[in-house]
Assembly symmetry: C2
């Protein structure tokens, strides 16, 4: 069985208080005693129970991370960044894939609370924003990442999605495109909405209108839905010459649709993705995409969360990072067929 602090104390012939001292490196203990206790801990392969420590008011050193889907490369990258920063600070990470479903979000939120995580990083959207209320009331530190929750006083780390949308529009405009379309995630996803808003605004500035029927939202199966929606777009009479996709997965769907329809990318169709995941680098042509600084975002989210944990300040800083356009070969000037 696992050795406890009592076992160590007994073997070392001291009180558990003494053992606790050396575990936490505080209090006063003679060097000899400390050494002896260390030796016994070693011999017994003693591992202090975080559970027990947490019960006495200390932390659990565990963080929760909610994302739509850990198998989506973008969130996998975010997760890795969060994990690394957390790990370097002594925290473990519980991942929760929500599929953007409120019921799953709620379930996970509750579970994480019951497990007394020290904080949660939320990178998933939810329809019912009231779900966070109880957490805030219980004063559980929360940080949003890559997603917003307006109206709630929560730490947030995002890239400027609006600017990202503008960047994409700017690029396409510069290439000479005027017949554009957009492929988005479910509209409940705040980042998609912002990207579209930015994209649209920039187009408007150039005097180009983006009618609602040229903005299609997909379901959960990003690639598949992206392909289906793109196919629909590309078969319309007024075929768009460029599609802005709210993430790389959708862009891949669009790419597949184009290929299936025998359209050349970028000659006959330009495609812009978002996130700059590894996927964007391996497609053919590789995707022009808007890049988010995932590593920095993950690190920042953890730092913000933990600083919130220390100080009582629930101050809600909103940290906005700038996206960058990564130009690759999926975009070009429209052909004048």
């Amino acid at each position: 069985m696992k050795a406890t602090i009592y076992d160590v104390a007994r073997e070392a012939g001291v009180s558990i208080a003494a053992v606790s001292q050396v575990i936490n490196g505080k209090g006063k203990i003679s060097e000899e005693r400390r050494a002896e206790i260390m030796r016994v801990m070693e011999r017994l392969n003693y591992q202090p129970s975080v559970i027990a420590a947490a019960l006495t008011g200390k932390k659990t050193y565990t963080l929760g991370l909610l994302v739509p889907d850990i198998s989506n490369p973008f969130f996998a990258e975010i997760a890795r960044a969060v994990e690394d920063q957390g790990h370097s600070l002594g925290y473990s990470l519980v991942i929760c894939s929500t599929d953007n479903k409120d019921e799953r979000v709620e379930r996970y939120l509750s579970l994480l609370q019951q497990k007394s995580v020290d904080g949660m990083i939320i990178g998933t959207g939810m329809d019912n924003k009231e779900m966070l209320k109880p957490l805030l009331e219980n004063s559980i530190p929360i940080a949003m990442i890559a997603r917003e929750m307006p109206g709630h006083d929560v730490q947030t780390v995002i890239t400027d999605d609006f600017a990202g949308g503008r960047l994409a529009a700017e690029h396409l405009l510069g290439l000479g495109h005027t017949r554009l379309a957009v492929l988005a995630e479910q509209l409940k996803v705040s980042s998609s909405r912002e990207r579209i808003r930015g994209f649209r605004q920039r187009l408007a500035e150039a005097g180009i209108d983006l009618p609602d029927d040229r903005v299609l939202a997909s379901g959960d199966a990003l690639v598949k839905d992206g392909k289906r929606k793109a196919t629909e777009l590309l078969q319309r009479a007024e075929r768009p010459t460029a599609i802005f996709c709210c993430n790389d997965l959708l862009a891949i769907g669009a790419l597949q649709a184009a290929k299936e329809l025998g359209l050349l990318v970028p000659e006959q169709l330009s495609i812009v993705g978002f996130d700059n995941t590894i996927l964007a680098t391996v497609t053919e042509p590789p995707l022009t995409t808007v890049s988010q600084p995932t590593e920095e975002m993950g690190k920042l989210a953890v730092d913000l969360l933990l600083s919130q944990l220390k100080k009582e300040e629930g101050g809600s800083r909103r940290t906005v990072l700038q996206p960058e356009l990564v130009t690759r070969r999926s975009t070009a000037a429209p052909s004048n067929e």
Copy 2:
């Protein structure tokens, strides 16, 4: 502050024992009392502390998952499968990216123990296999996934890597290739070794020798290293007409190398990957690759782990799933230049 069982008991005018009863749905309580208690729990937004419950001998309902890198699509998929199965059974998942580094493995192993996870699923290699000893001694349920640890009596779920290697060889042989090479992960990765062994054996059966200098191992940066090693291979006098890559990431590196050198895939070079991740579907040409049933593996690993948790049986079943060759367009008959 968070409500405790005491708060509920007080508010409901009963003992904490009664409250505990209704939480766990056992014992005998009159319907009225139960209803009243439920009502109070609701009102106080009471969430029983898993921490406290765990301390009294119950489970933590948390599992640990060790993988080389959660941002590697293959492991992200595995993680998702494990998460889903665990979640449906009430367990949360702590992810641990080890980068195949023993120090990280050790650190995580220790951390997970201190946090009293109910079990660990290990999908990462380690040089020092003795590291698992203490866990086994502490009788912490362990299951290996997609990786082996021969000599240790541990539950294991893997695909038949040896067969996978043979599959790849078979395919290439059938196409008429005779000058082959292999790109592997670090050789400490058991699955890579097995794949190579299978590949080599099948070649041998066809009377083809695969000299050691045609088997190159990469480092951690899979794509980058894969590209570098592939470049090296492709610049040799006796250029291979086909490369078997031990995972899709390496295959992508090889693909990039080929493109950079102006070699046509599959006309001048055939490439076979492994894992059939989403990446294999988006490259150009899409990759012929050996597929692993990730979903089934994840589900199985969790089930095995939990069954181990219930019964005392530490019985080490070794479950071997069969891989499948997915033929796409990165392979073809060698040109006779």
